[in-house]
């Protein structure tokens, strides 16, 4: 049974590494918010595996907090992006329903 626990830990670690690579590469800020969301899901999974391995219910409130934190984080980032883009559109005084070919330079302003 120990082999299975080690496999679980390795899978979660590799998943977190891949998610971190996407967090660093992510072309837009929404990709980064998405990968942070996925990383939170991986963290919840890892903490849950820890709790199950030790038969220890101490970390369960942490799972509760993390499951709410992911929602607040991604929604606030998305709202921030929407507001900033709309302000940009207002400057151009010409608003399209779907703004295509918007090339943002992330990391400069955010």
């Amino acid at each position: 049974m120990n082999v299975l626990w080690i496999i679980i830990a390795v899978l979660l670690g590799v998943a977190a590494l891949l998610g971190t690579v996407r967090l660093l590469l992510g072309p837009s800020i929404l990709d980064r918010a998405l990968s942070v969301d996925a990383l939170l899901a991986f963290a919840v999974t890892g903490l849950g595996a820890f709790a199950a391995f030790n038969r220890d219910p101490t970390v369960l409130p942490t799972l509760l907090v993390l499951s709410l934190l992911g929602f607040v984080g991604s929604v606030s980032v998305a709202k921030f992006v929407a507001r900033r883009t709309q302000e940009d559109d207002d400057d151009e005084q010409f608003v399209l329903p779907v703004v295509e070919n918007t090339v943002e330079e992330e990391g400069k302003t955010s």
Binding site: G19, S74, T85
Partner: protein, 134 residues
Amino acid sequence: MSEQVVQVLDWAGIVCILAGALLSFIAGIGLLRFPDLLSRMHAASKPQVLGLLLVLVGIGFRLLPVEESGVFSLGTLFLVGLFQVVTVPVAGHIVARVGYRTGRIRRDLVSTDELADRLATRGSASDPSEDTVS
């Protein structure tokens, strides 16, 4: 509880947690390899709902034999699953909507786009009821 029941519960729990970890791994690969925001969202939402519920069921199986705190643990696990199931679709919807509106999706990968048709028939963005997201 007898010894054999505990053993069966342990194996069921570890299989559930292994499935959840496998889904996380697959989501990590998809997050890295997929080409645009929408397909990455498709990959990343698997461990957020199905993987997390599997892991919670596994924790429940492992914690059930603990005598003094079993019931409270199950209540907390149920709350975690409930919050996750309620909030993940909302967050995904908002992120996808903002991504669409700001043009961060790749048009050549979209096979059907019903929202574009609706927007075209509705007229331009001067309709204020459309912009509830901002």
